[in-house]
Structures are given as structure tokens and as C-alpha cells.
């Protein structure tokens, strides 16, 4: 009994010591950053120029996209290793970061990696830690839609820091918030779906369609891309169904969809753990339909590993990537990733992951930053005004084509429609079937500040979209244009 008593006491003491140690850590941290001026990080600058540029990355290490932490960081790391002379700390674990980067003679230090969980709440807390505690000058990130809206709003309040979106695709982030120091070199969810409406109306002959989408901003954005284009081409969306995010039982929502004899096709924007249960609830209620009566957005790409191979032939919206295109730039990109990384946990070998959307988008963000910093000679001592203006006018060459920004600092770039194909081992894979050239965010004025995608926006109007009818078909990875 006595021994137990003492042991207990010892454990309690240990807990106390641990807590005190933490406080000591916190205090020592705070004492060497006392020179910070709240919000604007001017510590890194002197009157003459910039001594060191502090870079922060907001990635995800928890939540639904936590598995892509490695890919996010590999995208950033590979860009800095390739174009800024950085040394990768551990080629088998991108999340350990890199050292020794410098641009135009100015060292770039990776001061912190933020750990998001796809909620806005955590994204803001992590952003504050990165930009206020660790004094980041520039942040790359975040990954997902709601986070990016919150971060863009944060950016608006901190004009002398620069934010480059990681991989998020909510439309509000750029078109609605319009923070002058928030840049996005990837497309939003609507742009990614460019081409699907065209394919549905002109190739598959759908005259009417039903859209089922999760009830939150990224899904609305994604669905809006299809609706805007399908209606622009002349089709009619006769039903929109909105299951709440992560619904347990989709049967009532599947039941809301029109029957297969009442509509030509269905467009699916159901993600999370709901992609397959929603499809199954649909089949239970309406019976099996052919793959070309269905179409999905990039959520289907995430679920491809669990999908029934009989989905072969179904078209799905893009994610800004087309790793199967037979282009030199595509191979070059694979080589860059392969050169700097051996494995990217938890998915294994690095090379095959080179064209994951998350990796490519974080890579583009980092590459844009490097080019922007090169343009200003690494000088950010003017509250980053020159850097921000350089970033806005970049023409950024990427693995599949080049990207420019519009007035809201949103990417204008090519999009890719894909199709499910059966691979040699019997599993489902994706193949790029069309390139949609230079898609802009507003879809010819369908979207604007104040009319963001929602349950009712966009309406269904015919209009001329520059790219409809101008898509370049792809045969065996070779664009025919």
C-alpha cells in the first residue's frame, strides 16, 4: 500500500513537472519574440532589405485529408529543392521539411508547418500560430474550401503578409472575399468541373439533368460548375437535391431525385464517407443505370478505389491534373518529384504520386512564390507590396500548361475531363479525355461577388461560354489539337 502511495505521488509530481516544463517552453518562446509588432511581421526586415524570408505552410495532418499531409509537403519541398536550392531533410518523409533554400541570395526559412483538420476553426488557429507566433512572412495553404475562406478573410486583416492558397477550391475564397494579398494558382471547384456540362449535353445527349450535392460551399461550387455549363449549352437542370454533409441514411435524398425515365442523367457531388452509400441508396431506390447516366466531380476520384468497376465509362470532373497526358512537361514533373523524394507516406513510392491534385496544387503555389520572389530580388521590406504585384502578373508554367491570374488573383488555366477506365489489374483508374482551354472563374459572368454558388445560384440560363465547343479531345494521352 505504501509503495503504491509513493508511486502515485511520484506520478503526480511527474505530471506537475511536465506541465511546468511546458510553461517554461512557452515562456522562453515568448521572450525571444518580444520585438514582434502585432500582426505585421517586420522582424525579418531591416531598412536595407530582407535578411531572411520566413515561410510557413498550412497543410492537413488530421481530418478527412490528413492522409495527404505528405503530398502537400512534397509539393512545396520539391519546388524549393528544384528551384531554390533547398535540401530535403528526409526523402522518405516530406513533412520533415527542407533547409538551405535561398532566392536571389536571400535565404528562405521554413519556420513552421501548420496542422489543419479541414475546419475553419483550426485553420485560423494554426494560421495565427504560423504568422503571429512564428512570424511567418508568407504562408502557403490551406488545403480545403471552408478553411480557405477563413484564411482569405484573415489575409484581408493582415495586408503586409502574403498568402498563397494550397489546394482549396471554394469560389468565395477569391471571388467573394477578394483579399488583395491572397493568391490562388489552382482552380476552384466550379472551374475543375468545366467540360462536364459540355460532355453531358453535346456528347452524351442529356437534355435534362438532376444534381445531388452535399450542402456546403465547396460542393455548391463544384455543382455550380456543371450546372452553369450544362445550362449554358442548352440543357435543363430539373432537380437539385442537397443532403446534409455526412448524412447517415441517404435513402430519403436519393428518393428525392427524379426517376431514370424522367431525367437523362445525374451529376453527383457527394463526398466524405457518403459517396458510395449515396450511390447505393440511389440504386436501391431507382434501380441500376448505365455509367453514362451518371457523372461525378472529383469526389469520385477519391472514392475510385472502392467503386464498382462497372462504373467504367462514367465521366468525372477534373482536379486540375492530367498525369496521363503524354507531354514533356508531365514527365519532367514526375522526374522532379522522383528526384527529391523516395517515398511519400502513407501511400508509398513518390513517383506515382507526382500527379496527385494536392501535390500539384501545393507545388504550383510554391513555384509561384519562388518566381514572385525572384522577380523582386527577394526583397519584401516594402510590406511585400512589390512581391504581391509580381505574384499577380506571373505567367506560371506548370506540368500541364500555364496559369495566369485574374483581377481577383484567381487562376485561369486549362481543365481536364476524365473518364473511369479499367486498368490492367482490374481496378478502376482515370483517363483524361478532354482538355478545356483557359477556363476563368466567373463562367462568363455567371458568378460574381454577391452571387456566389448556393442552393439556388446559379440559375439555369443559356449563355455563350468561350470554351464550350472548343474542348480538345485527348486520345491515348495525346491532345488532338
Amino acid at each position: 500500500m505504501n509503495i503504491a502511495k509513493h508511486r502515485l505521488r511520484a506520478v503526480r509530481l511527474l505530471v506537475l513537472v511536465a506541465v511546468m516544463a511546458l510553461f517554461a517552453a512557452a515562456c522562453s518562446d515568448s521572450s525571444d519574440t518580444t520585438t514582434t509588432v502585432g500582426g505585421s511581421a517586420t522582424t525579418a526586415t531591416t531598412s536595407g532589405g530582407t535578411e531572411v524570408i520566413k515561410l510557413a505552410v498550412l497543410s492537413e495532418c488530421a481530418g478527412a485529408f490528413g492522409d495527404f499531409h505528405g503530398q502537400d509537403m512534397a509539393g512545396v519541398g520539391a519546388a524549393f529543392a528544384e528551384y531554390a536550392g533547398a535540401t530535403i531533410t528526409n526523402p522518405d518523409d516530406p513533412t520533415e521539411g527542407f533547409t538551405g533554400a535561398s532566392i536571389a541570395g536571400v535565404p528562405v526559412e521554413l519556420v513552421g508547418i501548420g496542422c489543419g483538420d479541414d475546419t475553419a476553426d483550426t485553420a485560423i488557429k494554426e494560421t495565427r500560430r504560423l504568422m503571429e507566433q512564428l512570424d511567418g512572412d508568407i504562408m502557403i495553404g490551406p488545403l480545403s474550401g471552408d478553411e480557405s475562406i477563413a484564411v482569405a478573410n484573415y489575409a484581408k486583416d493582415h495586408p503586409s503578409q502574403t498568402f498563397i492558397n494550397g489546394s482549396a477550391g471554394a469560389m468565395d475564397t477569391t471571388l467573394e472575399v477578394q483579399a488583395p494579398n491572397f493568391f490562388r494558382y489552382n482552380s476552384d471547384g466550379a472551374q475543375w468541373n468545366a467540360g462536364t456540362g459540355d460532355v453531358a449535353f453535346n456528347d452524351l445527349g442529356w437534355k435534362t439533368a438532376a444534381v445531388i450535392m452535399d450542402d456546403y460551399s465547396f460542393a455548391w461550387t463544384s455543382g455550380a460548375g456543371f450546372i452553369a455549363e450544362f445550362c449554358a449549352a442548352g440543357g435543363e437542370v430539373i432537380s437539385r437535391v442537397f443532403p446534409p454533409l455526412n448524412t447517415t441514411d441517404y435513402s430519403s435524398f436519393a428518393g428525392q431525385l427524379p426517376d431514370p425515365d424522367e431525367v437523362d442523367g445525374y451529376f453527383w457531388v457527394v463526398g466524405g464517407s457518403g459517396t458510395l452509400p449515396a450511390l447505393k441508396a440511389f440504386e436501391d431506390a431507382k434501380g441500376p443505370v448505365t455509367p453514362t447516366q451518371h457523372m461525378g466531380n472529383l469526389f469520385w476520384e477519391f472514392a475510385a478505389g472502392s467503386m464498382d468497376p462497372s462504373m467504367e465509362g462514367a465521366y468525372i470532373g477534373g482536379f486540375g491534373t492530367a498525369g496521363d497526358l503524354k507531354l514533356d512537361s508531365v514527365e519532367a514533373h514526375t522526374a522532379i518529384i522522383d528526384k527529391h523524394y523516395d517515398t511519400i507516406p502513407p501511400f508509398g513510392e513518390a513517383g506515382p504520386q507526382a500527379h496527385s491534385g494536392f501535390l500539384v496544387n501545393y507545388y504550383l503555389a510554391a513555384k509561384a512564390l519562388i518566381e514572385g520572389l525572384e522577380a523582386v530580388g527577394g526583397n519584401i521590406s516594402d510590406d511585400q507590396a512589390a512581391l504581391q504585384s509580381a505574384l499577380g502578373s506571373l505567367v506560371l508554367a506548370g506540368p500541364y500548361g500555364s496559369t495566369t491570374l485574374d483581377d481577383n488573383r484567381q487562376a485561369i488555366q486549362d481543365q481536364y475531363v476524365r473518364q473511369f477506365v479499367t486498368l490492367d489489374d482490374g481496378t478502376l483508374g482515370l483517363s483524361t479525355v478532354a482538355v478545356i482551354p483557359t477556363v476563368d472563374q466567373t463562367f462568363g459572368g455567371t458568378f460574381a461577388q454577391g452571387s456566389m454558388p448556393s442552393r439556388t445560384v446559379p440559375g439555369c440560363d443559356t449563355r455563350d461560354l468561350a470554351w464550350v465547343g472548343n474542348s480538345i479531345s485527348v486520345v491515348d494521352g495525346v491532345p488532338q489539337g
Binding site: L8, D146, H158, L245
Partner: protein
């Protein structure tokens, strides 16, 4: 029997008995700590970075206020309410909907920030009364589960009902000019939170000594007797819940001024359990435990990833919840009265032995206070 099943009922009785037993001694010790805490609060900004003040300390103070509302109910009413996070969040969402001027989700009513505060606190207090009226007819674990359900339904409500928020939350919520924009006056909000914390602490402490507070504790200890004495148990519990909701809503005001943004994840199951963890870490039977727990939680949240060696054993920043879960588990297993209890025991072990036993019988038996059950 049933009434005594709560571990901290007995504990609180012991803790309350403490000042009487060792009166002068403990009184001074407590005074010293209190004065030191106040002085610390006042001078902290002079010795720490802006980030530490505006992020860590302010956050800890406002979380401490919510945790205090939880502890008030748990320690003095025997009601462990997991709906306090909801109360805090409802205020945030109401203010968010009321004061934003467009470009955000929600109603964007564009009202004056102070009107937003009145609306937020008012609506939350009314809601607390309604929810309290429903939940207060139950006690114990039942009450805990009902309030947990309220909290989680609240999360889904704000997530799914896109009229008011949606999962993306409400952004760009303006504060009154006095608080300003982020980085403008980093210390003002801190001092506001500090003053509110002190006031909340004093007021809640005062209430526990009023006839209402005493009746509440009577109901906690022996509801049968109180009922036969003519006390309306339900009204007392409901009013206590309403009061706690009001306190939590004040913290909600601080939160929305501090964060300028609120989304369902701010009040989701993680946040609900986080608040409970704060209360338990600090010591769920003492009001001051709220702030102790909050500061430990926020500091751990922010700095535990910097502790060398953790990453090597697979407990890096991504596994923060595992670490905090283990801390929580240890506290619950070893010290049901939290860090404050540990602190007290350490102080006590430095004082003459005769003082222990009478005050806290059987504490170190290794099985908590099972003989009190």
C-alpha cells in the same frame, strides 16, 4: 445512495470544509495566490510577446470563463453540463449573423456590434432557460447525456441550416471600435477578458453563498430533503443553468471579438470534450480550476509539438489529441480534483502531517474516494 454517487459531490464537501478546518492558514495562502494571480494578469503583457498575450492568454481567459460556467453547475449544482460550448457558440453565431455586412454566410444583418452583443447574450440566455427547463428535470448521467446531445445537435444545426451559417461558418465579424481590428490594440481585448474573468469568478463565488446558491448545493446533496422543505428543485436547477448559459454567452462575445470568425467546428464534439477536459484538468470542483485548466490546455495545444522527442515516438503535432487524451486520462485516474488538487496536496505534504487526515480522508488510498460512495 444515488445522490452520493458523484465523486466530486463528496469532494466538494471536503473542499468547502477546508477553509473552516484550517482557517487562518489556508486563508492567507489562498489570498497570496489570488493577489499573485491578479498582479500576474495585470503585468503579463509587459513580459510576454504580443502573440502570447493576444493568442494564448486571451484565449485561455475566455475559455476559462466558459469552463467556469461548467464548473459552477458541476460543483455547486451537481449538474455536469456539456451544453456550455453550445451556449458560447450560439452567442457567437447570433453576433456573426447580426453584425456582418455581406460577403459572409449567414443573414448579414449589418447591425451595430453592441446591438449584436445584446442580441447574442439575450437570445443565448433565453435558449439556456428553455434547454435548462427541459434538461433540469433529469439529474446525474442523464443530465450529462442530454446536455451532450444538445451540444452536438447544435453543431449539426449550424452546420446544416445554411441560412445561419453552414459548415464554413461566419467570417469577418466586426468588433466594436473600442476593440478594433486584429493587431490594432492587442492588449485591450486581453484586459477586457481579464476583467471579465475576475468579475465572473467573484460573482459566481458570491452566488454560491447567497440563499439561492445554498439551496442549489442543498439540492445537489440531498434533493429529497430539499424537496420536502418546499424548495422547487426544477426551478433552482433551471435558473442555475440559465445563469451558466449567460456566463458562457459572455465568453462567446469575447470569442467572436477575439477570433472574428466562428464555424460549427468551434462548437463540435471536439470543442465540447475540450471544455470538459479543461474543467477536469483544472479541477472540476473549484471555480479557479477553470482558468488553470484553460491555460494548461491552450499552452499544451500550442507548444506540446515543440517538446523534443515526441515526434520521434510518433506523437508529433498530428497526434495532439492522443497526448491531451492521455493527460486527461491520467488526471481522471489519479486526481479527480485536477491540477489544483495536485497542487494542494503538494503544499500540504510540505506542512505538518496532522493537517491531512481530517481534511481529506483516505485521499491517497489509491482508489480515489471509493469509501465515500
Amino acid at each position: 445512495m444515488a445522490a452520493l454517487r458523484f465523486v466530486w459531490r463528496a469532494r466538494v464537501t471536503a473542499a468547502r470544509a477546508a477553509p473552516e478546518l484550517g482557517s487562518r492558514r489556508v486563508f492567507t495562502a489562498e489570498r497570496v495566490v489570488q493577489v499573485a494571480a491578479i498582479v500576474g494578469l495585470v503585468v503579463a503583457p509587459a513580459f510576454t510577446s504580443d502573440f502570447f498575450v493576444s493568442f494564448v492568454l486571451t484565449q485561455a481567459l475566455l475559455l476559462g470563463v466558459v469552463a467556469a460556467s461548467l464548473i459552477f453547475l458541476a460543483a455547486y449544482g451537481g449538474m455536469v453540463s456539456l451544453a456550455q460550448t453550445l451556449m458560447f457558440g450560439v452567442t457567437g453565431f447570433v453576433i456573426g449573423n447580426a453584425v456582418t455586412t455581406g460577403g459572409s454566410k449567414g443573414l448579414n444583418l449589418g447591425l451595430d456590434p453592441w446591438i449584436g452583443v445584446i442580441l447574442g447574450v439575450g437570445i443565448t440566455t433565453v435558449l439556456a432557460f428553455v434547454l435548462g427547463a427541459v434538461a433540469s428535470r433529469s439529474t446525474g448521467l442523464y443530465f450529462l447525456m442530454i446536455t451532450l446531445t444538445f451540444g452536438v445537435i447544435g453543431f449539426y444545426f449550424f452546420g446544416q441550416v445554411t441560412t445561419f451559417s453552414g459548415f464554413g461558418g461566419v467570417n469577418q465579424v466586426r468588433s466594436p471600435p473600442f476593440i478594433g481590428t486584429p493587431g490594432q490594440f492587442p492588449e485591450r481585448l486581453y484586459y477586457v477578458a481579464a476583467v471579465i474573468s475576475v468579475v465572473v469568478y467573484l460573482v459566481l463565488r458570491y452566488i454560491t453563498r447567497t440563499p439561492f446558491g445554498l439551496a442549489l448545493q442543498g439540492i445537489r446533496d440531498d434533493h429529497v430533503r430539499m424537496s420536502s422543505l418546499g424548495y422547487n428543485l426544477w426551478i433552482h436547477r433551471t435558473l442555475a443553468f440559465t445563469l451558466a448559459g449567460f456566463v458562457a454567452s459572455i465568453a462567446g462575445v469575447l470569442f467572436i471579438w477575439w477570433n472574428r470568425q466562428i464555424d460549427p467546428a468551434s462548437i463540435g464534439i471536439g470543442a465540447i470534450l475540450g471544455l470538459l477536459i479543461i474543467a477536469v484538468i483544472g479541477g472540476i470542483n473549484r471555480l479557479d480550476g477553470a482558468w488553470v485548466g484553460a491555460i494548461v490546455f491552450v499552452v499544451a495545444n500550442n507548444y506540446v509539438r515543440d517538446v523534443p522527442g515526441l515526434n520521434q515516438i510518433g506523437l508529433g503535432e498530428a497526434r495532439f489529441n492522443t497526448i491531451i487524451g492521455f493527460i486527461f486520462l491520467f488526471i481522471v485516474l489519479l486526481s479527480p480534483d485536477g491540477l489544483i488538487g495536485i497542487g494542494q496536496r503538494i503544499t500540504r505534504s510540505l506542512t505538518p502531517a496532522r493537517m491531512h487526515t481530517s481534511r481529506d480522508p483516505g485521499y491517497d488510498s489509491g482508489s480515489g474516494s471509493s469509501e465515500m460512495m
